[in-house]
């Protein structure tokens, strides 16, 4: 895989995150006949979050394959299709439903290559979305990246901007391994500049979304936006936070994270998933192992409370890190 980032920058337009994903799907489907989309509600309705809108008209019902509600059947069919020559992109409507399909994701997709001694490859993408913020309650709001990160054989992507969404989805589709691609329900209607035409963001590369010298905030998905807002507030108090958007959780760009930490000597890891056993623990533990002597304070974690996500708006907000929480903890850390 090759990053285009080195080339002359392409023209950009402002797109919503879901439009950017839609564009990536369209371009990859035009480029490669083997790419198909498979999932619930993705045809006439265009997907629960309109990521596949218009694709039925363009590619027809065999390449935009709408399914009954049969999560493990669908994911398993994608595994079989990937093994035999297609490059399926599965849309799982909510990551909370992964518990129905985890066996095919882990025991079959992720392990196939290793288990069979390298005979096959499983070029499939499982796109889904998670996160809270829409009042969908405990069965439609989880953040489950830690489950996938803990599986040998999966790659794991969580873009925070429309441009990254497009570029990382295209790269994921071209990747020869099973990629879990996690969107966030509250990012779909965020806008940003997106390069036209082919745009690839390589897997495994984090990005500094804001430079700073006083502390490093390592985060991903929707919390990147919160961290940027928080950084703006911190700046007005004279604290310059560097925001590292991890983008690809597996493989993890340790070099970029460590370089930032070695500069700022303080680190705050932020994610929406519950704290206990969250991927933030991995990031924090890795930083401590690799950069202990560079740290002026222990890495802090700011993450979801250990509860299911409640329904009511004010309750929901109270269990996942908000902008103010980041500001508060960052200040504690820098003092």
């Amino acid at each position: 895989m090759q990053a285009t980032e080195a080339r002359a920058p392409a023209a950009t337009r402002e797109l919503f995150y879901n439009e950017a994903l839609n564009e990536a799907l369209r371009l990859e489907m035009e480029r490669d006949q083997r790419v198909i989309v498979i999932g619930e509600d993705i045809a006439e309705h265009g997907g629960a979050f309109q990521v596949t809108a218009g694709l039925l008209d363009r590619f027809g019902p065999t390449r935009i394959r709408q399914t009954p509600i049969s999560e493990i059947g669908i994911v398993g069919a994608a595994v079989g299709a990937a093994l035999t020559g297609l490059r399926p992109v599965v849309e799982l409507m909510y990551v909370d439903f992964a518990g129905l399909a985890m066996d095919q994701i882990v025991n079959q997709a992720a392990q196939n290559r290793f288990m069979f001694g390298g005979q096959a490859r499983v070029p499939m993408v499982l796109r889904t979305q998670g996160g809270s913020g829409r009042g969908n309650a405990a069965q439609h709001s989880k953040s489950l990246e830690a489950w996938f990160a803990h599986v040998a054989g999966l790659k794991l992507v969580m873009p925070s901007t429309p441009a990254d969404a497009k570029g990382l989805l295209a790269s994921s589709i071209r990747d020869d391994d099973p990629v879990i691609f996690l969107e966030h329900k509250l990012l779909y209607r965020t806008k940003g500049a997106v390069p036209e035409g082919e745009h690839l963001v390589p897997l495994g590369k984090a990005e500094v979304k804001r430079e700073g010298r006083d502390l490093t905030i390592v985060t991903w998905s929707r919390e990147v936006l919160f961290a940027l807002d928080a950084s703006a507030q911190l700046a007005s108090d004279g604290i310059e936070a560097e925001v590292v958007d991890v983008r690809t959780l597996v493989p993890l760009d340790k070099d970029l994270i460590l370089a930032s930490v070695r500069k700022t000597h303080r680190v705050l890891v932020v994610h929406e998933a519950i704290r206990r056993g969250g991927y933030g623990a991995e990031v924090a533990a890795m930083i401590t192992e690799e950069a202990f002597d560079d740290l002026d304070a222990p890495p802090r974690r700011l993450a979801g409370l250990e509860t299911p996500i409640p329904y009511a708006q004010h309750l929901e907000k109270s269990v996942v890190p908000q902008v103010d929480d980041i500001v508060r903890v960052a200040k504690e850390l820098v003092v």
């Binding site: 619930e40 329904y311 009511a312």
Partner: protein, 326 residues
């Protein structure tokens, strides 16, 4: 199809009252949603009232049900308090789930409602387990699982029906075939005409019933419940129906034509039908039914007012609510 039986005045009025309550509840929730007082998602049961009403009229308070994302109707038919339901939708401390659940997660365990479920097919094994409890403890309780046509293609359906059949559990599986699973019409989701046929593959009776006709549902469910209660094992009941609204509040319904919607809505209105046969069978007068309607309207107003007066759910110590024992 099981044919409808003659029904007495009291039963007719009870069934009508439950159906009207559900319809009015749904209308008011939609309104509240439109006013941005409810958030998240709601799925209206309008058009399907005959199923919940007809089935639950056969149940006791100590019988169990498991419900779905489209669960208000089941909850009401099983005897829930409307005020506490609205309070839940409005995120109040007095709601059934203290604002933690919302529309997709209302339970009313005191009345045997083990809960709505946001996971399609998620309630089917749970009802099966409840039926196991009844059998194990030697009670004559019955467990009913409501689920949609969409859920009938989930693995949980398959595994649960088989377990219930081999163990002869007192369970009734009620498949509400409202013609769609979100945007997917049943004819694209099944290569078989009659979902009830699947029962044969498990060795249990499969009954197909007109879900518009509350008398037919009442009779078919009555047989199934009696079968379960007397130790003769589970039944699959498939009830044809139609949801009047979109899948969820705000569904643009791109997958349906206006003609289809209008035609079906006219053809499938169990509430209007009930009024018609109640009058035709002289079980009650127009005025009687109007009185029922008005009483329910008043009750709904009171319930909403009660709910709106209650304090918002408290966010204090949410983490302490996760476990029963510490």
């Amino acid at each position: 199809m099981t044919t409808a039986e003659k029904i007495d005045r009291k039963t007719a009025l009870d069934l009508y009252r439950v159906m009207r309550t559900i319809r009015s509840f749904e209308e008011r929730s939609m309104q509240l949603f439109g006013e941005n007082k409810i958030w998240g998602t709601i799925h209206s049961y309008a058009g399907e009232e005959a199923i919940a009403a007809g089935v639950c009229a056969n149940l006791r308070d100590d019988d169990w049900i498991t419900s779905t994302h489209r669960g208000h109707g089941h909850c009401i038919a099983k005897g829930a308090d409307l005020g506490r339901m609205f309070a839940e939708l409005l995120g109040r401390e007095t709601g059934y789930c203290r604002g933690r659940g919302g529309s997709m997660h209302i339970a009313d365990t005191a009345k045997g409602n083990l809960g709505a479920n946001g996971i399609v097919g998620g309630g089917i094994p749970i009802a099966t387990g409840a039926a196991l409890t009844a059998k194990q403890l030697g009670t004559d309780q019955v467990a009913v699982s409501f689920f949609g046509d969409g859920a009938a293609n989930q693995g949980t359906f398959h595994e649960s029906l088989n377990l219930a059949a081999i163990w002869k559990l007192p369970a009734v599986y009620v498949c509400e075939n409202n013609q769609y699973a979100e945007s997917l019409p049943v004819k694209r989701a099944f290569a078989v005409d009659d979902i009830a046929k699947r029962a044969d593959g498990y060795g249990m009776p499969g009954v197909h019933v007109d879900g518009r006709d509350v008398r037919a549902v009442y009779a078919a469910a009555g047989e199934a419940v009696a079968r379960a209660r007397t130790g003769r094992g589970p039944t699959l009941v498939v009830a044809d129906s139609y949801r009047h609204e979109g899948h969820y509040y705000g569904d643009p319904r791109k997958y349906q034509s206006k003609e289809e919607i209008d035609g079906w809505r006219r053809q499938f209105d169990p509430l209007a039908d009930a009024r018609t046969w109640i009058l035709a069978d002289r079980l009650a007068s127009d005025a009687d039914l109007d009185t029922v309607d008005q009483n329910i309207a008043t009750e709904i107003d009171r319930a909403v007012a009660w709910a709106e007066e209650a304090p918002l759910a408290s966010p204090i110590k949410l983490p302490d609510d996760v476990y029963a024992s510490h």
